[in-house]
Symmetry: C2
Subunit: 194 residues, 2 copies
């Protein structure tokens, strides 16, 4: 299997490790959506996609942007419920970090930096309802960038200029649903299902 990476911009996601797992949609800044994206990126019905990674770009206060990285090949004790990934995000946020990834625990890393650092790290394609159909594309990008419930900002769009864009269906769906559909497109290609 080739490596596949998803990155999600959390425009108002908190960088305060004290956020409560009981209010991820509210005071944690739609951390529920980001937690579901981790599970959608890494988890199968039973077990983990060893070839998958997920990066969450937390842009909210008090200390953003920071990026949390989950590696499917290494992560342990990740369950599909929102609180499970949410608890790992809290733990990653609780350690000091600089501009390079620091490992909090197995498969969970954190560093300072937002979208520009992400794009310097690796090339990304943008999931965008205006792009051509990914399922018809001959080559598959190694990494996909998504936004949360908000559109990319003008500043972000400026950074994304020139990147390949793909759509995955006729309707605009939730970010974690989009990750599940993208995995399915790649799984089908990889298994020769088309």
């Amino acid at each position: 299997m080739s490596m596949i990476s998803f990155a999600v911009i959390g425009h108002c996601a908190t960088t305060d490790s004290g956020f409560t797992l009981n209010d991820m949609p509210g005071s944690a800044g739609r951390m529920d959506l980001l937690a579901r994206c981790v599970a959608a990126s890494l988890l199968l019905s039973h077990g983990c996609r060893k070839d998958a990674e997920c990066r969450l770009v937390l842009c909210g206060g008090p200390d953003g942007p920071k990026t949390v990285l989950f590696r499917g090949a290494q992560v342990r004790s990740l369950s599909p419920d929102e609180r499970s990934a949410g608890a790992l995000i809290k733990k990653a946020l609780s350690i000091p970090c600089g501009d390079r990834y620091r490992e909090w625990g197995p498969g969970v890393y954190i560093r300072r930096g937002g979208l520009s650092a992400l794009l310097a790290e690796m090339p990304h394609a943008v999931l965008d309802e205006k792009g051509p159909d990914l399922s018809l594309s001959g080559s598959m990008p190694p990494a996909f960038l998504l936004s949360d419930h908000l559109d990319f900002t003008q500043d972000e769009e400026a950074l994304l200029t020139g990147l390949p864009r793909f759509s995955i269906g006729p309707l605009i769906i939730q970010a974690d649903q989009a990750i599940a559909v993208t995995h399915n497109i790649l799984d089908r290609k990889e298994a020769g299902w088309e």
Copy 2:
């Protein structure tokens, strides 16, 4: 748009309305998975699929089986996070009910009865990794049945004999991911994307 319905068997999902939203994976019997299935069935990025329904078959104690029905055309105040659907499930479980659906509130219904009542209610196709590829099927079933994290039991399989079965990809994925992928296959057909 034609109506589309998903039903999920929650083999150990509690029928006690007192379950805590803080422990849906544990003491509530994988209610987290069922809550995600409600969101995957009904929610787009912004707004609701008016043509979609979701039925949760709660088979756990103390009072199962009961079936909770969510109708996209009517439901209000459903957010994508697990606690949102979980709270509506708790409220539906809190009212007395008989063998016919009783409305708890807008778009949320409950009745007694499990898989056999569900199959008498409407015809279902089974999402099953051993079936042919749904995306290659000429006609689309109006309703799909999924299991939770457990396989169908022998008694359930006996009830499913003769029903059409379809797979949606080469890997076995989480139930809510499978619903997202199935919606994508139907959305593509409906929009003439193939």
